[in-house]
Amino acid sequence: MLLADGRHVPDLHLDASEVVRCRALADQVTAPVLGFVEGHTTVAIERTVLRLFGLHGAGPRGVPQVNLAVDELHRRGLLGRGAAWWLGYVMRQGARDPVAIVEAIASLPEHPAPLPAADDRALREALAREARAAVAELKGRVAGRNALKAELGTGPRPHKYLIVATGNIWDDVEQARAAAQAGADVIAVIRSTAQSLLDYVPHGATTEGFGGTYATQENFRIMREALDDESRRLKRYLHLTNYSSGLCMPEIAFAAAWERLDMLLNDAMYGILFRDINMKRTLCDQHFSRRICALADILVNTGEDNYITTADADEAAHTVIASQFVNESFAHRAGLPDRLLGLGHSFEIDPARPDTIARELAQALLVRHLFPDAPLKYMPPTKHKQGDIFFSHGYDLMADVVGWVSGQGIQLLGMMTEAMHNPSLADRYQALKGADYVYRAWRSMGSELQLKPGGMVESRAAATLHRARQLLEEVAADGLFAAIGKARFGDVARRETGGKGLDGVVARAPDYFNPLLDEMEAA
């Protein structure tokens, strides 16, 4: 198989009809969800819209203005019309600056007086115009980023993706620069533990996170600025990514878009399964956030790798594939092209078992063949990592081999101290040096090696695809909500009415107004 970037990977002979069927099933799975999504909005979506109109600040005790405003609307049951509409409403009443707007919204009566139809039309037109201008500005920023990328060029594939997670944005910057100097192509700033459960986006530059650094717009800006500078110095464009999953998915996507991030962790189901966020909430938020990604040319990374840190990687291999089809379908529905689809998977089969390379290769090649135009994000081993860093390092290198030979687009480099602590500078350096050696040493092996027809790798891939199809049949029949209820993904069961954030889901009123969504749907 010849990849778009010129690399070859060993051919896998798959049953094409099964692939077609999986895609059809995935579309069947996502269709009713989209129906639901199109009838609802969430507090996070509405906050995002207000951010587009410039409500960036934070009020007393750091509460973001958008939260103050949206919570007031929600309390009054007004959100179904869209926060933008109410923004227009209070602005017509004279509120101009953010503080005044928030105050005006907070002072709205339980049943605000309706607007005459002409005023309503004028309000919508004015805000649509403003939204169009803001979106144009956003697109200008993205174009600037793309120009820099074109000017400097990027490193060869796979892009080496390295994590920084000090908790302090300034230390993160220092480490990101160091990683870039050692060869990193993508810097991922990990978020503080459980930020995904905060129903607001913290404000400003932050220095105190646990196991990661808070995702804030200011932190994004600081890091992107440093990477722009470092990119110019190293004459190689450095990508930046962060996490959007969680209760603030669309807001974070918007901040990331504005600050010119290149990628985002953005999975349709991660929040549900791994953060116990209500499924309706997440499914609405993911759609809106992905529309933002499509608008801002942000590559989304999905989180199927997580399934096999909870479930057994060997037994659950097909759930990864099934979920990827679902994620792909959701992404297409949000307007994302394949080239922005960094579907996630990983090298996680217990290394105590025999023949793990055959099975990992089967999985990695299967994903590669199923999604030929997607860049793919390949994760290193994590769950079975050991405190024995020497073993752990060698184990990572095997993942590098499989990632390379199977032509992955983005490769997270494993950290030899994975079982202990967040990566240190030394760990990243060794990971880069090792991966570079592997890519160099195995350079032509992707085109050199062929698989025995009907051998262990091919049959394993075929069996996994087959089981993925069976699972998709079941999910299509039961519906996604029910399937998640039966722990069909990642061995985790969630109820439709359980989890966090359900109370932030609101049915759109017939006169729902969302000029940002209108802009994006028009694009």
Binding site: G167, R177, A178, A179, Q181, A182, T193, A194, L197, F210, G211, F274, R275, D276, T309, T310, K383, G387, A419, M420, H421, N422, S424, L425, A426, Y429, Q430, K433
Partner: protein, 256 residues
């Protein structure tokens, strides 16, 4: 496991390729650019740790202003094995059927066992491995034991909520998992449950177990728990400990 304590004065030192040669391998980063001065600084770090015959085996520019070193050296440090405080959870075990039978007979009822990964920690795999039917490494989880009524509350469970559950369900034992340890978040969090239970006047009626990849028995005791379980723990270890401890509290013995 070391059954008998070692004789007094049994000194051990690191072993490279001869008894007592004291060979140690180090690696670290210094925030300086690579070069002869950096190399010397690395050697000096090793010397200041008391190492002799210091060999800077590798100096690599890990970044423009950071250098990675691998250093070998020899230490004079020796440890007297007999003076070490080793708190070890007893590991003589009964088989599955035997244990269940024995426990049901001697206790006369099923023991109520709650499990949770607490605070903001979302790592459920460890507690699941101990609690769930399926178990871990071919060893059944506590849910499968007829002698236990085992309830896994999952991850991100608030300490206050957990303490309430203990009271409501009349739990005999609580299994707490802590995986995230950055900035000692696990310590504060683990202590909080003890405080809650003490506040409710329940601490002494319940067996408290702490577990996780960076937990050991010693640390658990220090944090006010009855026992600690580290990486690689099997459900059967925990089951045996629980039954044994309940019997002990009843004045009986597991291994008569």
């Amino acid at each position: 496991m070391t059954a008998r304590p070692p004789a007094a004065g049994t000194l051990v030192r690191p072993y490279g390729d001869r008894q007592d040669d004291g060979v140690l391998q180090l690696s670290f980063v210094l925030p300086v650019p690579a070069g002869e001065r950096a190399r010397e600084a690395a050697a000096e770090v090793a010397r200041k740790l008391g190492l002799t015959q210091v060999l800077v085996a590798s100096m690599e520019a890990a970044a423009e202003r950071y250098t990675f070193f691998v250093v070998y050296g020899r230490t004079e440090v020796a440890v007297d094995l007999s003076t070490l405080q080793v708190a070890e959870v007893v590991t003589r075990k009964k088989g599955f059927d035997e244990l269940n039978e024995f426990a049901l007979r001697e206790v006369g009822r099923r023991l109520v066992v709650l499990g949770a990964c607490t605070g903001s920690d979302a790592h459920a795999v460890g507690i699941d491995a101990i609690m769930n039917m399926k178990g871990f490494a071919g060893d059944y989880g506590l849910e499968r034991y007829p002698c236990f009524e085992a309830v896994n509350l999952g991850a991100q469970v608030e300490n206050a909520a957990l303490a309430r559950e203990v009271v409501e369900r009349g739990a005999d034992a609580v299994l707490v998992s802590q995986v995230v340890t950055q900035r000692d978040v696990h310590r504060d969090n683990a202590r909080r449950l003890v405080d809650e239970l003490t506040r409710l006047g329940r601490r002494s009626q319940v067996i408290l177990l702490l577990g996780g990849p960076r937990i050991d028995h010693k640390l658990a005791l220090e944090l006010g728990y009855d026992a600690g379980f580290g990486p690689g723990t099997r459900p059967s270890d925990v089951a045996n400990y629980l039954v044994g401890e309940v019997l002990r509290r009843m004045g009986k013995e597991l291994h008569g």
